[in-house]
Point group: C2
Chain length 213, copies 2
DNA sequence: CATAAAAAAGGACATTTGTCTCGGCGAGAA
DNA sequence: TTCTCGCCGAGACAAATGTCCTTTTTTATG
């Protein structure tokens, strides 16, 4: 859910040290700042060094869908560089974010020159396909309540906590539905519905739920 | 919706001609036959030469979700080979399907040896991410009726016609909901709801709808 | 052609979800 | 302190969806 790719990050950091000439820069972004706007043409790719950002599609009906949360070592803009297309997502910083900004021609030439880089990239793209497909299936075929429970577990595992708006956008539901489901989940946790009770008793999840009241 | 990749196909056909030693074989499968079962370990990848198959996830609650329909030149099993994991989807032939069966070590060594092949593969993976993400967002945030209309248009464009079961599994809904939405769509097409009427008047879509009654 | 068996369609009801709206609560200003 | 503004949660209602079961249609067989 929060993707990271430390291989990517260490590769790039090494590459930067060895190729200071390639005008790769390191930039910082405030929480909320949009690194990338859907529909824009860009000529850089970004690799996140620190912080968390969200990648989301804004549909024409005004609703947003969060594709993924991106952490350390995740890359952004690579699809646009590979396929020479306009940006298909927005990317916004959630926390303070620091990222390497790499001109797309440098990125593309890296693919030509470095087998190691290509391997890392292939792994990254494969992971994305797997995660995106698995999640699409899961969210279409299970109840919201169950998806919410899983989302809380993921946050607990990764020690992050998202805003309600972001969680709703990730689940593809309205905040109203989110609140309703959360309430039901808490009720079931207090009753004796074994499956839910056990899951909700985990210390980390309890904290999260408490924060949400 | 029906993915194809002619670059992939022509690359592989050329490669086969030039490397008959690599024990690549060509196999045919009956409609309904499962080339790949979710959870299996496989040591081949498949590249479709002819026919259409579907790639779908079976969830533990008994429901299926169709990830994509695969046509000429599409590859299957490559994620499993790249990441050394068990199969995450089922793949079943819808029509009569002919496919090249390629041992995974041949596939992996091609990535090492051929820049051209790697480029094609990167393009393919990128396309998958784009399509999967876009569709997940669309299906979560729009009404079923609208998604159904779009699905009919896609079928008309690509001159294929799917079973109701498959369409429902692609949309992530029950057949009951599918029937209901189809009926509503047809009613709106007969009334004067401009947007829908125009879309449904297209000759190809009319044929499709007629077949579904 | 008639009949039985199987498959598909659709009605009824319960549940889920979205939209709209109102009311409570807290932060900041007068 | 009190007032106001804005945000957040939840009630009420309508729409959408799933499940179950009956009805209709199709297919197969004698």
């Amino acid at each position: 859910m929060l993707r990271t790719n430390l291989d990517f990050l260490s590769f790039i950091e090494r590459f930067c040290r060895e190729n200071e000439s390639e005008n790769i820069s390191l930039k910082s972004f405030r929480p909320g700042y949009r690194l990338i706007e859907q529909g824009d043409k860009i000529s850089n790719i970004y690799i996140i060094k620190e912080g968390i950002s969200k990648c989301f599609i804004s549909e024409e009906n005004g609703k947003d869908f969060i594709i993924e949360f991106l952490g350390k070592g995740e890359v952004v803009g690579e699809l646009e560089a590979l396929k020479k297309i306009d940006c298909l997502c927005n990317v916004a910083a959630i926390s303070e974010v620091t990222a390497y900004v790499i001109p797309d021609h440098v990125f593309l030439s890296l693919i030509q020159k470095s087998g190691e880089f290509t391997t890392i990239l292939l792994q990254e793209l494969s992971t994305r396909i797997i995660q995106t497909s698995t999640r699409a299936s899961f969210q279409q075929l299970y109840t919201v309540e169950y998806a919410l429970l899983k989302l809380l577990q993921l946050q607990a595992n990764e020690s992050i906590s998202l805003s309600k708006d972001d969680m709703a956008a990730y689940l593809g539901i309205s905040v109203r539905s989110f609140n309703r489901s959360l309430k039901q989940l808490i009720e079931k946790g207090n009753q004796d519905t074994p499956e839910f009770k056990n899951m909700l008793q985990t210390a980390n999840i309890k904290k999260l739920v408490d924060r949400l009241k």
